[in-house]
């Protein structure tokens, strides 16, 4: 009897852990272990097989931070992040304001506004590769320009940012639409009785009310953009962009150092530096949050 009771007591503790076991093992093996390994590895000399040789302190970090290639990829990553997040959120905000009022056909245009969410980086890259073609592509024809988008030092990073900006419209739109529709209708009505013009209404009433969502989108976009690598790798691997230094980002640089050159020293250190820069940016943003974001 006592034995059975004890067994039941043990089961009561063990049972929930059994349900959690797969998830815990997964996160330990594929998130925490590699993160700790990357962190420790960045302080070691690592051979091309990935074995840790001996402790070198901050040597890896110093070498990477002094490397002009790394300065270049940092600059590229910042340009990309600064271009993508605001433009995409602004376009999505305008779309959300337009789609705010439900109409008979709203399902049609809401779907179209959100559709870029289903796009993948590689398909978008293939489509824009044709659109960017200097002679037969659509973009130069529509804009009346003669830009060699992908193989011009000045335009290559902008060209990549345009793709990503476009792809993020759908995601940002859905969040902003939900936020705007969540605003208490009576607030907007009382404003229109006051005769507030649409623009003023947007800036002085809607913007503060959706500022938590805007802040969330800025933070998540920034975190995502700082870690971008796919577009840079797709275009440089396929040879569509010849000067890789024009578009390589921190993570694509890490990838190339570790995977192509088997230089894990630079690879690990770059990964940790990229993580640290992003983390610091987040902290700064959260300090700004206290000033600029209104919570009810």
């Amino acid at each position: 009897m006592a034995n059975q009771l004890r067994k039941r007591k043990v089961m009561k503790y063990v049972e929930p852990l059994l349900y959690l076991l797969p998830a815990i093992i997964f996160f330990l093996v594929f998130t925490y272990y590699p993160f700790i390994k990357t962190f420790i590895g960045s302080f070691f000399l690592v051979d091309s097989m990935g074995n840790f040789k001996h402790f070198v302190g901050l040597e890896n970090f110093i070498r990477v931070l002094k490397d002009s290639n790394f300065h270049r990829v940092c600059k590229n990553t910042f340009i990309y992040t600064i271009l993508c997040a605001p433009v995409s959120i602004l376009i999505a905000l305008i779309l959300a304001l337009i789609a705010n009022k439900p109409t008979r056909s709203s399902r049609v245009y809401e779907t179209m506004f959100a559709l870029t969410m289903a796009m993948s980086m590689s398909v978008a890259a293939m489509i824009f590769k044709l659109a960017y073609n200097p002679t037969i592509g659509a973009l130069n024809y529509i804009l009346g320009t003669k830009i060699n988008w992908l193989n011009n030092d000045k335009w290559a990073m902008i060209a990549i940012s345009i793709i990503s900006t476009w792809m993020n419209i759908g995601y940002n739109f859905l969040f902003l639409l939900a936020a705007i529709r969540g605003i208490d209708g009576s607030i907007l009505e009382s404003a229109s009785i006051d005769g507030a013009k649409i623009f003023r209404k947007t800036v002085s009433i809607i913007m503060p009310l959706i500022s938590p969502t805007l802040f969330f989108l800025v933070i998540t976009s920034m975190a995502k953009d700082m870690m971008m690598s796919s577009l840079a790798l797709i275009f440089t691997n396929s040879g569509a962009i010849a000067t890789t230094a024009n578009v390589d980002t921190m993570i694509s640089y890490m990838y190339k150092q570790a995977v192509n050159n088997l230089n894990y020293n630079d690879g690990y250190a770059t990964a940790i530096i990229a993580f640290a820069i992003t983390f610091i940016l987040m902290l700064i943003s959260f300090r700004f949050e206290k000033k600029g974001v209104y919570y009810n």
Binding site: Y109, T111, S120, S122, M126, L130, L174, V259
Partner: protein, 282 residues
Amino acid sequence: MKQIQNKRISRRTTISLVHQTLAILLGLVIIAPIIYALLISFMPANQILKRPPTFIPKKWILDNYKMAITSTTLGRFMINSLIMALTSSIMRVIISSMAAYALSFYKFKGRNFIFMLIMGTMMIPGDVVLVSNYQTVAKLGLINTYLGMMIIFFCNATNIFLMRQYFLTFSLTLKEAAVIDGCSNLRFFLQILMPLSTPVITTVFISSFISVWNQYLWPMLVTNENLMRTVQVGVTMLNFPDGVVYGPVMAASILVLLPTLLVFIIFQKRIVGGIMGGSVKG
């Protein structure tokens, strides 16, 4: 009086009609790159290479699609991606629902710690641990295998959080009542809780499917045999004879895009509910 009212209503419907038309036109501008790819995919090669570029095919042909399917291994890429996306999504539903069940229906020591441990993984981007994960998978001998391609997508903290939020809306008494009736904990989970949670399961499954189908970097890293490539990697490496490159590539892009596009349009409401972290109930 009535006339004025009628006039007002008709004026309002006109404004609404103009607004809707403009919104749809704007929608077409937003998806213009997709329409562009669609038009080019039906265009004969010599028209694509013409300058200045034209956008409406003079003759609508299927040659590009035939070429994309027959002269490449796109079909095999599709099957690989399908296996990867389906298995990962099923695993995500299983693993995250189990974890969410323990986190919402059990009280035990260390529950909050485990919850924080799981949520903490959101702070660590997958790209930062990419190289180390590659070494782990290589050591396990999983290079060029399906398991290696999808293993890092088997679990996701956001999904666990979403399911936990949903499970928390059920009262604990539901489980207590079932247990008093002689229902075991496992049976309650499988036969009562899961059937009641189909909305959140669909959300997790569909959003996982789209995100895994669209993965590029990891599948590229762990495969180097052509036959093991996924569509996302394959579509960037298609080789066609010079002069007919763009047509078949656009056709292939449309074929790769089609599954996620359809899934998105059909399940839009569910996916929207999913990305908003359960704040919108489906």
